[in-house]
Structure formats: C-alpha cells, structure tokens
Symmetry: C2
Subunit: 158 residues, 2 copies
Amino acid sequence: MQNPTFEIRQARPQDVPAAFALIEELALFEKAPHAVSNTPEEMLRDGFGQNPAFGMLVAESQGALVGISIYYVRYSTWKGRCLYLEDLVVTEKVRGKGIGKALFAATARKAQELEVKMMVWQVLDWNTPAIEFYKSWGAVIDTGWYNCRLEEATLYKI
Amino acid sequence: MQNPTFEIRQARPQDVPAAFALIEELALFEKAPHAVSNTPEEMLRDGFGQNPAFGMLVAESQGALVGISIYYVRYSTWKGRCLYLEDLVVTEKVRGKGIGKALFAATARKAQELEVKMMVWQVLDWNTPAIEFYKSWGAVIDTGWYNCRLEEATLYKI
C-alpha cells in the first residue's frame, strides 16, 4: 500500500507514553539523547491537567501513534500572540508519506483557530530536509540568534 | 550621583506606554525597527486582562521607567516548564549602573517562584556585551539553531 491510511487528531491522555517515545526519538536524531529529563508522568500532568502548558496533535496509523505536533501560545512583544511549534516528529519508518505535511497543516489551522499573529519554531542548521520542508510552506528562516539558558542548578543559585 | 536610586517592581497597566517605547528602542538597537506591529493597546489587553500572556517587571528611577523585563512560561518537551525571557531592556542613557543586573536577577527569582526547570532566552550573535553579561550569570549559550516563522499572510493561506 503506497499511502497508508492515517488520521490526524487531538491527543488524548493515553497517547502520552507513545508520544514521549517520539520525543526521545527526536532527541536522538538531534544528537541530544541525554537532554531529555522530562518524563511521561510530568507530560501527562503538564498537558492534560488544569491550565495545560501545551497542546498536542497526533498522527495515528493502523492503531499506532506515528507522529506528533506539540504546540503552545507564546508572546512576541513585536507581533503579539504567536503559536510556537515545539516539536514536530514523524517516526522514521513512515516518513515520506505526507504525515508530516498533514501534521504541519493541522498545526497551522490550530494557529488560525487561536487567531495568533504568527506561527514560530526552530530548526537545527544541519537539518537540510526540514529546512527545505519549511521553506516549501513559505516560512521565513532567520539566522543570527543564539539560544541561552540558565539550567536548574545555576538558576536556583541566583 | 554614581548610583542613582532605582526600584524594581511588578508592572502596572499605566506602565505600558513607557514600556512600549523601550520595546521600540530595543527593536531599533536590534536593527529591526519595522518589525514592531504590536501596539500599546494590544499589550495592555494581552498582559493585563484575564489569562495574561506575559508578565513584566520594571525598573523605575526618579519617577521614570528606565528598564523592563518581559517574561512568560513556556514548555520544553525535554525539560518541562521554563521561564522565557522575551525582552530585557535598559534605556541607553542609564546603562552601566546595575539596572540590567537587578532586572535579570529579579526575573530569575520570578522563575524560582514559578518553580520552572530552566530560564531561557535568545541573544543576537553580534551583541557581544549582552553575551558576556549572560555568561557572567553562568548561562549556557547554544549556536546552531535557526528561527523559523510563518508570517500572518502566509499562515492564514494554509
């Protein structure tokens, strides 16, 4: 079958363990396998309790969760409310079948529903296929910014 | 007077016009003066209504607003809830007096109160004084990421 049937839908709490496995797959692909200190239990609490910290769309194919899009609203003082795409993952064995396109389009429609001014996200500079994918949607790509962080141990000493 | 008296406090709605002028000062410094399409009216609605989209600390000196820190909670699937520092601005004529340090420290304490896992922000690659300032706090600085966006006109066509 060339185009397996898949469905894009809003995530349910029971999707969290499989979604977390995709987040770990992405961290491995992004050469940061040890960066994930979050847990499925924390994701369940953070995303499905009161005042959820993020929303999630999932792609399901033949009963398995094969892709996710995780997003939330953030604020740009220059533009106003924006939808931030935190993670877009399609598991390696089903890539090239339009699942990423469908997830990205569904996330853009979510941004439209939320009436935000922009959709924003980040990509690694060596991830050429992703950069080309985003350009094909008309994305503007800005270089010249560094990401800064105070990690937990440093932050709590201030 | 070498060290003018200044006070760091939570912003009030009436601080928005002066805060907005500092945001425009920052955009000019960052060589993007035309990037600001937000307005003081929208900032007032977005930051001081129900479910505020951001928080703001201000530095006041001799009755004038001379600095701001704008922040909000965002979500890292790798780490969990983080405080994002959207803007840290001290107006040019009062720099070098410790106001930026005081605002940065107050923002870090806000992050501690909110019990987040990290504090994160961005800096322009040519802004060496800011990079040195952040390093002096123990910040980790990551290169290699591009910022992507779908602007309003493109987003609403999908």
